[in-house]
């Protein structure tokens, strides 16, 4: 999930850059190309005011189209509304030019095509092709209406090849760049994931190796002695050793726990020392534990070390989520009360002695 996001963002950034480039191209063409032609041939139009109105409508269509495509791929309805408005304005402008001068004075054909490119760019390619074809047909229709001769037809075909060719080329180019951006993003994501997998595998391997070593030096010899009969299961010493090894094995199995945070790992480390002394330690958790800040963890683990050092043969540590934090408790056969570290860092400590058994609880509240 986290690996996916940067890739998606990156690919999105590239696509936005291409969109902006197309917007500048279309707006630039309409302003400089079409606008320039319109001004240059000003005296030749039947109604210059009408041509200017059509030019303005198409400028508004460009603004609307830009707003649409900057928000992502537009739906068919808004995209085609903008495209058809441009087509209508362009055809009207062409029809209003003097009959024999149409091709020479018409400024609107190119702009309409570019607007189509703008709004239909990321929709299906056939949509853009149909739009450009419809536009060419409209212009041809105006020509035929005006009376088509051979020179006009040649001019029309030349213009068609030039403008439609350029528009198709830009559309195809952007599509290719989009695909490339997607591939680049996917490659980045794969690389990221591979690095993460490798790092995780390293951690797991190191962890397994450490566990294997720990078992080699402790449980291995005991099992060997039991198997060879040199260790007597009736011997209290052997029983304590077995209990300690069992506790360690249990702890190794529990390390797959879903518990986040390092408090539990620090408690495990404290328990380790006690286990080496022959104290059987069990650690259990209830609920999804909250993260405990460093200073509070130090108070809790200090209490743990004090109690585990005083424990004679067994200790139980539990971590439980409570209303506003965590309750870490210790039950151990310490024989007597244990001087515990001072409370602080949001941790309160209570204890109770019952015969030889000590119960202590360190509670951390997150408010």
């Amino acid at each position: 999930m986290t690996a996916l996001q940067p890739a998606a963002i990156m690919s999105g950034r590239y696509q936005r850059a291409y969109t902006l480039a197309v917007i500048f191209l279309v707006a630039g063409w309409h302003l400089a190309g079409a606008g320039g032609q319109l001004l240059r041939n000003r005296p030749d139009y039947t109604s210059f005011a009408f041509q200017c109105a059509m030019w303005l409508i198409m400028a508004l269509a460009i603004a609307a189209g830009s707003a649409l495509v900057l928000r992502g791929t537009p739906g068919w309805f808004p995209a085609w509304s903008v495209a058809l408005i441009a087509l209508g304005a362009s055809t009207a402008a062409a029809a209003a030019t003097p009959a024999s001068q149409m091709l020479a004075f018409n400024w609107s054909w190119g702009s309409a095509g570019w607007i189509g490119v703008l709004v239909l760019l990321r929709r299906r390619f056939t949509e853009l092709a149909s739009f450009l074809a419809a536009e060419a047909l409209a212009i041809l229709g105006v020509q035929v209406w005006d009376g088509l001769n051979r020179t006009d037809l040649a001019g029309f075909l030349a213009l068609l090849a030039w403008s439609t060719g350029a528009q198709m080329a830009v559309a195809a180019g952007v599509r290719a760049l989009d695909v490339a951006a997607g591939q680049a993003a996917a490659a980045t994501r794969r690389e990221h994931a591979a690095r993460e997998r490798a790092a995780t595998a390293d951690v797991i391997r190191a962890d397994r190796h450490a566990r294997w070593l720990a078992l080699q030096e402790s449980a291995g010899p005991l099992v060997a002695e039991l198997a060879a009969g040199t260790a007597d299961p009736g011997d209290p010493q052997v029983r304590i050793r077995s209990a300690v090894q069992a506790a360690r094995l249990r702890r190794l199995l529990a390390e797959g726990d879903e518990v986040p945070g390092s408090l539990i790992h620090e408690l495990h480390a404290s328990a380790d020392v006690a286990e080496r002394r022959g104290v059987a330690v069990e650690i259990e958790t209830a609920g999804l534990l909250p993260q405990v800040p460093g200073p509070a963890r130090r108070v809790i683990t200090d209490a743990a070390i004090a109690i585990l050092t005083a424990a004679r043969s067994q200790a139980r540590i539990t971590l439980a989520t409570v209303a506003a934090g965590i309750a870490v408790s210790f039950v151990a056969d310490t024989g007597a009360a244990v001087p515990l570290p001072a409370a602080g860092a949001g941790v309160t400590i209570e204890q109770q002695q019952d015969g030889g058994t000590l119960w202590a609880e360190a509670r951390w509240n997150n408010r």
Partner: protein, 256 residues
């Protein structure tokens, strides 16, 4: 202990695929000073069982031949079995599923020596028995349909889970040991009143009411709109306490 003395020993069957575990359980049963339990059958899978329960209580290993059998528990309790689950899987989710499916009690393999015989005796009389691993699962329970426990019940469960004896829990909470048992049993009874229906859960609940562990009005009606069907006027919306004048009993539980 808290169980009334029975003249006849409770009969028990063990369903367990590892002979060494069966042997261990048998030795715990033999070493019970009062000889309160008698082992009558051992089986290594569910197929070996008859249609009717072979004993008062069956001790069921939750993993038989490498497969979890928690989903088979509803079938067993419908056939009249009282199930005490005995398992190495002490993850809260599995414990909760086991209880929800109708097991009387859950005992983890670490707890077996101290708790299995007592759990069997409690189950034989349909009384709740809450091990520390079961308390852990109840404390960790975050399901939306979990019953509402009182602060006292929750505190008693927490201290019991932490490893205190019930007498110590009582001192800590300034209440008697008996009240501690009452809180823990009541929490268990509330669980018997939620989730899927099962004859064993109804029996636990009926016995808890009879013993005065829980009052009918303390039982939250089943957390299901589907079950709050017409014809049960006393139970309103889920979570609503029944009218004390008309105690509502879950299906199958009749006041005795």
């Amino acid at each position: 202990m808290e169980q009334p003395v029975r003249k006849q020993p409770v009969t028990v069957a063990i369903i367990e695929d590892h002979p060494v575990v069966t042997e261990g359980v048998a030795s715990w049963i033999r070493s019970d000073p009062g000889q309160r339990v008698r082992l009558v059958q051992t089986a290594h899978d569910l197929a070996q069982l008859g249609a009717s329960p072979p004993a008062d209580v069956v001790i069921l290993d939750l993993e038989l031949s490498g497969e979890l059998v928690t989903t088979q528990i509803p079938g067993l309790v419908t056939a009249g079995y009282r199930v005490v689950a005995f398992s190495g899987h002490s993850e809260p989710a599995i414990v909760m599923e086991t209880l929800d499916n109708g097991a009387h009690a859950y005992v983890s393999k670490e707890e077996g020596r101290d708790h299995l015989v007592e759990a069997v005796l409690a189950a034989a009389t349909d009384r709740p028995y809450v091990t520390r691993s079961q308390a852990r699962a109840m404390l960790a329970d975050q399901r939306p349909a979990r019953p509402a426990l009182s602060d006292q019940e929750r505190q008693a469960l927490l201290l019991w889970f932490q490893g205190m004896s019930k007498a110590s829990v009582g001192r800590r909470m300034s209440i008697s040991e008996n009240t501690v048992r009452q809180y823990i049993s009541r929490a268990r009874a509330k669980y018997a009143a939620t989730g899927r229906t099962a004859p064993s859960k109804d029996a636990l609940l009926a016995r808890a009411i009879e013993d005065g562990v829980i009052k009918p009005r303390e039982i939250t009606p089943y957390n299901s709109f589907a079950r709050a069907a017409p014809g049960r006027p006393s139970s309103g919306a889920p979570g609503q306490v029944s009218d004390p004048g008309h105690p509502s009993f879950p299906p199958g539980v009749a006041p005795r």
